[in-house]
Amino acid sequence: MPSANANPAAQVNCIFRQLPDDVLDQIGAQRGGAYHKETEASGVPHESVAAAVGGDAVAVGQDTVTIGLVQNSGKDHGGYSIIVGDATFEASAQAPEAGGADAAANTFMAVSGADYIIKDESNHGGSGPNDASASSELSFVAVNINGWSPEGGPVVIELHQPGHQDRPDGHQPTDGNYAAVIATADAHSADSSLSVAQTNALAVENQFSFVSGIAVVAV
């Protein structure tokens, strides 16, 4: 079981440690170093895997900040494919009147065609009389082995971190209403590949700010 703080490479290696030896031989991978090892065409038909990751954040108040970052990268290694993605959204708001500030953040993901999925999600939020803040973080690793599937279907490992009522280490709003979002989608494959990234940002002076973003990758 990978830890919640493991990096994507460690999580992929954790997945490969669970694979039978004959499967590793077939796809040309090795335990412990599979994540960086390129394989030649194994003769196994290519299987497509797709993943979408995104989120949104909204802050209401006189001074607001919403920030979003979405990254999604997929690579076909020949015998197997790996998609690594994450989304981080934060919202903070302040208002001079009590109860005039509110903040919310949300992230989501969807994966199709993967044999193993490791998902790590955490949500934080807090509010006071004149301020509110929220953050949501999600990261995942999806691995598909061409021509092989785990017994019982895809394996999903969730490293859920329960939410806290603490103030996130986010951006405290300065004067004004600020919205910024970046989304990147990268696809690398010798077969057909698709990458889509979309963002929206809206700021209304003295009222609120909003961001959303989504990145989709298919290899």
Binding site: A180, I182, S192, T199, A203, N206
Partner: protein, 138 residues
Amino acid sequence: MSESSNMLFVTVLGKADALGDLTTTNAATKTFAGAGIAVGFAAATAVAEGTTAAAPYTDATTAGLADGGFITSSQTSHVSFDFPYGPTPVSVSVSTTFVATHGVGDFLNGRFLIIKVHERKDSPARTMSSRTTSLSAL
């Protein structure tokens, strides 16, 4: 020290790259500034057709920035697709960016404008442009 201004500002850019046996690229930007509103739009398209020996490559990027209005918004979209099958593999990338900022209010009333300028001094509404990138390596 904050600066106060009643200027609306938008800027957009677009870039398209294509590499292959047969390629076409197009990048267009348009900005409009009227009474109380400024709008920018950028679109970039790249299409490349390669050969079995040389895979095609495309990249399209657009970005924008808007500032100065009470309501500021941006939308971006980027799609990239590679189809490497057959004698003529194809790569397509399309990117669009739309940014707008609205100086809402009675912009025909100069006194109101002056009031809003002072409000803006302490509370500028700003939307940073969004950026999307996509790479496909064969």
